[in-house]
């Protein structure tokens, strides 16, 4: 299973506190225990944050190498990096092409209809996410959403925002019955409203469900997510695709941007056949286009052995 939104605790280039980092490690460990083995660490950038385009090595604040070493004893755990750019003014998102070789997945959070329009038509991105707990400032049209899905852009549903939100439970009466506070109720109402809108506009296709959890309690397992989606009217096969197939497609399209020349010839760095198109092992996490990491021993590959045998004879 895939979870493409494990948020990086800070939204700027300041280094996170030790407590925040522990929270991140706990989320990763919990997700792994629940069966998610492809995780993307998401760096969410507000519009006013200046990205250091001048120094390509310092654009990505996430220490992927250290994270990978830390979780090296978890078999089959694959970590990817992702950036989410919040856009409200379409003219603001220059230099997107400079990010392409640095992050595995590039996504956009449009705050205005114009930004959504731009993201679906012009930008070369993998995913669009909305902040579902606050009322969307525009109506989602099937025409724009459908065009994006035809292009291969997926839409993200972040479920943890419905679980946390502005307030928790209230103790009202002496019987100790727990009821939701009004603001929390409102947040959930808006969440479901937006979710229904998104499902309607996308005609149940091209959706990706991800956690976006800052704490490990906000993480849910696969069956829970399927239940949630079935309550809003998605059939079983489609809701399953939201956590398996669709995120994989996002990963493939994002990774092929780095690994391949326009999705025609890709460089191969993994012998295992699963995840051939998106694996990122053996790759330099900072300089992704460096070729030196991809060299292999000829006798390690099966066709190489055959070649060698023929040459000696």
């Amino acid at each position: 299973m895939f979870d493409l939104n494990v948020p990086w605790p800070v939204q700027t280039y300041n280094s996170p506190s030790q407590q925040q980092l522990t929270g991140l490690y706990n989320v990763i460990a919990t997700l792994y225990c629940l069966g998610y083995n492809h995780l993307a660490i998401n760096f969410n950038v507000q519009e006013n944050v200046k990205l250091p385009y001048g120094q390509p090595t310092s654009i990505n604040p996430i220490p992927m190498q250290q994270l990978r070493e830390r979780f090296s004893e978890y078999p089959n755990l694959k970590l990817f990096s992702r950036i989410t750019l919040q856009i409200s003014d379409p003219s603001q998102c220059q230099g997107l092409s400079k990010l392409q070789n640095i992050f595995d997945i590039i996504s956009i959070q449009p705050n205005t209809e114009k930004a959504l329009q731009l993201a679906t038509t012009n930008l070369d991105i993998d995913m669009i996410s909305f902040s579902l707990t606050s009322r969307l400032p525009f109506f989602l049209k099937h025409k724009t959403i459908g065009a994006a899905i035809d292009k291969g852009i997926k839409f993200e549903i972040i479920y943890s925002s419905a679980l946390t939100g502005p307030a928790g439970y209230l103790v009202t009466s002496a019987n100790d019955n727990m009821t939701l506070s009004t603001t929390a109720l409102l947040a959930r109402k808006v969440f479901f409203n937006n979710l229904m809108q998104l499902i309607r506009a996308s005609r149940s296709n091209g959706l990706v469900v991800s956690s976006g959890a800052f704490q490990s309690v906000q993480v849910r397992n696969g069956p829970d997510i399927l239940n949630l989606l079935q309550t809003v009217g998605l059939d079983r096969a489609r809701s399953k695709a939201c956590i398996t197939d669709n995120p994989e497609k996002v990963l493939i399209s994002g990774r092929l941007r780095i690994k391949s020349a326009k999705q025609v010839i890709a460089v191969n760095n993994d012998e295992s056949m699963e995840g051939l198109l998106y694996s990122n092992e053996g790759e330099d996490p900072v300089k992704k286009t460096e070729t030196a990491g991809f060299t292999k021993k000829l006798s390690d590959t099966s066709s190489g052995r055959l070649l060698k045998k023929q040459r000696i004879v």
């Binding site: 493939i252 399209s253 092929l256 020349a261 326009k262 191969n268 286009t289 460096e290 030196a292 045998k309």
Partner: protein, 286 residues
Amino acid sequence: MNNNKLEKHLLSRCYSSEAKVLEVLSSRYSISGDQKPSLILTPTGSTSSERAPSTSLLHTKSTDKVTKPASKTVSTRLELKKYISTTLNKQRKLIKMINQSKRTSSPSTAFITKKLSQYEIPKFEEFTGLNSLWQEYMNNLLFPASSHQQHQLKLPSLAMLLPKLTSADYTGCLLTVLQAKNTQLVGMRGIVVWDTQYSFILCIPRDQDSKEYTESVENLTELTASTRVGGLKAIPKKGCIFGFDVITDESKDECLSFNIIGSRFEFRNVDRSSKKFKNHNVNDLL
């Protein structure tokens, strides 16, 4: 040396023997010779008895007969097509024969090799030369002389390598099918004989070499008839992911592996060289 040819032609009309012509020419251009600026041409009379019938060196009779094509419609492409289809037919026949004889007794290796030469089925070993030529071509294409610094290969970045590979020629490349919609094709490998628009025509190795997982098979009778025959195989590009290795340093045993995404590769190699590729929806790649 171009004018040398002309002079040779002129002299060939003057002297009867070719050795004499060459001698004159060599003395004319050698540093130690007389280096005359002029050529002495003796008139050729029809009366001279020692002269053979006047034939210039340009118009020497060729001993091997040039066969004219039977009709205008014969082209290399059609001939190749015909060759491939007849070979595939022959292979089918041979596989059927082996399968039938298997019911009674398993066919011996000698029987199969005899039949292979009888049916003129191409062998993998015949194409290994083509593969080494291709490796040389790839090395020249990907790592031009500027990337060699002090006899050490400095690998260019992926952004440099990959676009070159999209417009490269793959005839002679050893391809392996890594993923395919048709699971029967997975693991198939061979040297590309011809690159068509929708498929690769491979020449596949026989017996243990045929697939990676057949390397350890000891009893040849366990293998299917088609792996024992080998020969040509047409593999569709659609839905397949192919892998190939480029040897970067043979002495150090190093190589670079690449994947061809077949669904995005459905072009004739002539069109592909000038094609501008674009990113698409990846729904068909999964």
